[in-house]
């Protein structure tokens, strides 16, 4: 749930989602779920020349499994907190694994 928890804090921030088919979509993150499906608003494809069919699309729902990267806005990430959250997550997983 760490990633879900993390991405929830990025809602209403602009992110760039890179898909496994190399399309990069920049838009405002509107929603994310536990599958890390992503809903973006006001999207803009980075290499628009290459993907003209996307030029008319204004918002997208991206299935989590097709996402390769999400480029984060650095100033929206609380690194120490994220580190702690990671520690907790690791502790949780270790606890569950036993």
């Amino acid at each position: 749930m760490l990633f879900f928890s993390f991405f929830k804090t990025l809602i209403d921030h602009e992110v760039t989602v890179e898909l496994k088919n190399d399309i990069q979509i920049r838009g405002v993150l509107k929603s994310v779920d536990q599958y890390l499906n992503i809903k973006l608003d006001n999207i803009q494809v980075l290499e628009e020349i290459k993907y003209p069919h996307m030029s008319a699309v204004k918002n997208v729902f991206i299935r989590g499994s097709v996402v390769r990267y999400v480029h984060l806005p650095a100033n929206a990430v609380d690194v120490p907190l994220l580190e702690d959250a990671t520690r907790r997550e690791a502790a949780n997983q270790a606890g569950k694994g036993k």
Binding site: L2, F4, T9, Q34, D78, P80, D84, R87, R88
Partner: protein
Amino acid sequence: MSFFGFDTSRHNPAATGFSQAHNPFAGLSNREDEGDALEFEDTYDGLGDQLDETGDAFNDDTFGDTTVFESKPVGKDFDFFNTTAKVANAIEEEHVRFTRQQPTARSSQTVPQAAAPAAFQHHAPGSSSYGHYSQLPPSKPARTGYEKYSSEPVAELQVDAALWGVAPKKQTQAAVPSASPAPMAAAPARKILSLEEVEAQMRAQAKKTSQQATPSPAPPVAAVPSGSQTQVPPMHYDQAYQFAQHGQPAQHADTTGHDQGAPAGHGHPITILQRPTSKPAASPQPPTQPAAHARQQPSGPIHPTQILQNPNRLSGDAARVGMHQQSPHGSYPGHPIHRQQGSFSQQPQIITHPSQLSQLNEEEKAAYLDQEAKRAKRNHKIFLMSRDNGIMTPQDKSFVTRIQLQQLVAATGNPNEHGTDESLTEDFYYQVHSQIQGSQRQNPNQPLNNFAQTYLYQTGSRQGGMRRHHRGPENHMQRMEQQVQRAVEAAKNKPKNKQLVIEGSLGKISFSNAKTPKPLLNIKRAENPTEAHRPSSAHRHIDHVGDRKSDLRSIESIYTTLMKMEDHDRVMPPPPANDADTEAIQTFVAWNSEAQILNNQLWESLRIHDHPDNGVVHPFIILLSYTKGMKAMQRVSRHLTHEQRTTILTLILVNLDSLDVVRGAQVTPDSPQPNAAMRENVELFIVAVMSTLFNILNELDLDLVAGMLGLVCSRNVDVIAKSRVGASMLTMILSRAEIIKHGGGGSEQAWHSWDVTHTQFFDLIEPSLPHTFPGPVTTSDDIYVWQLLAALGIGASPDQQQRLVLAVKDRVMDTVALSKTLPQDLAAQRLQNVNLFMRSIGLDVELLQ
């Protein structure tokens, strides 16, 4: 009816009504085989034997092809409905004709069941349809229509409705077929309707006209004996029916005083009814009996349709009722009376609409039919909408809703448990992040709450709308919420079988759920104590000196303990308000002891009191060489006591020259800058550790500060001074003493020890001063040196000041010279740095220019 050997191949098996549950004739054919046959045996007087079997001649008209007439056995499932439908037009014609010759037709109508097999056969359509009616509630037309509509397109009904509304008269006159668009399938259903109505009309008209003895072109009319009327008692009508139905003319004769008609006579009226024109042979034999019966009809007050009833459809109740009513009027054979009375009791319902219809005036009729049309339309609409009714029961719906809400709650967390440990572990980052970013959302629970609320509300209003009469939406919503809570509780309490352990496998497969959507393979770990306590500080005693991995692990254990302490802080109970509140005191004491345990844990994991062998760096100092070790300092110091903090500061000062950021970041004139990684470390150390130490130092008294400075003097001051961190640390100590002096603090004795230490320190650092500057004079990042010089200068004696100036004179002059070549702002910056020092000894760079 199989004895007629009908051609079953002729009927349309695909047609509506065939082999359907509601096929009115499927059941009938069976019953007629048994019930009617029995009836026949009981009551048959052999008259049928005298019948001219040539009555069969019209079978082919009615039932179709004669060529195969006897070739195939009919079987019990003969489809009267469809077979009759084929001759629908003929029958309709009959009806039209029949309306013109009611009296005769009336009489003929009464006879059919009494007739020989042939006659019976002729009437099969009619009788069966009525049999069907007798099973149905009063709203017959609509009902019959539905049976058809269920398998027919919408348009069909609308056409029918239009018929009802637009051409009501037509329909009563049985002129419908021409208007009907549906060829075969539609006809039967309509036929049923029209037949009934026509008969009702006939009855009504018979009432009116029988008194007038309306002349009719048909032969039977002429044969009607007028004398019979006078003799007829009111109940004669019923008896006549009884006669008609059971073929017992004798009984009828008893009551009416009429001669029994010839057996053939009974059969003929039927043919007249059905085909007046096509069977002229029947006309010459006007049966007295039927005619008389028709005349008597007016006297039978309320129940004209009784004739139409199929005796076999009677219910026991109805029969009994009929018996009671009937008994005063004379003795009749019990059995027939039962039959007849049963039909009698049912009859008023059946006729309700059609018979009354004929008695109404035109306007009323129109209004009635209009209403009827509306009703049919509405019923049809309801029917269309109700096609999917009942697919889901209310229980199903609530079950599905509950599952959805449960999933929702599981995915987003129970709105009620935010801030609890569970939600923090699962959703830590989000929860804390939203708390930190509190300004954006007033309440971290808000989005989730809204989410869940939205769904709950929607459900509530939807359900509420549906059953507005039972309960308000609010109530339902509450109920739903409770339901969800219960469901969540139940889901929590239920031991979850969320893992699949395959025999002989090393691990287990956990199923996906909302929180872990991806199934995981969990490898079973060997239960060993060390592993079990891995996250805790239990293995701090394992000495892996100089092992980076173990160092990092130690730092992690510090963090783990830190997080535990932070969690523990969150649940800090309020301090007991007074001594009487023992419970509060106990809680507080328990919390304090727990905090103490955690504090000890943390302290031990910091390894402050370790005493490493000579030449080995203290483990705590090693921790400070790691980035995350430095970062931990701020948090660590928050959870330590004052003494512990002082101890840490002391330890750091004692080991100042072994600090990574001091040792590894020595400035030399040749290589002014340490590498990038070290620079970053230095920056981080200054931000993370120095600020902490500064805070600690600011709490200290002068004697302790003097002690600190003394500790530094015991180390390699040159190394310390040549590093940025070291120089800053020295500045910190010196300036702290200066601040205490300005504040007027410190005892005489303390000041004395301070002066001694300071002099010692000055002597130690003086030779290093010219070399503390990072790189050549062009290096701009030398403010910390000037700060150190300033701190030294403030507290220095005039003699020491002199020595200071001498030590750094070259650097001062170079910087001033350089500043003249630099842009305005940069020059000002450099001069300002120099001035920090110059002013501390009462000078100014202005004097040098």
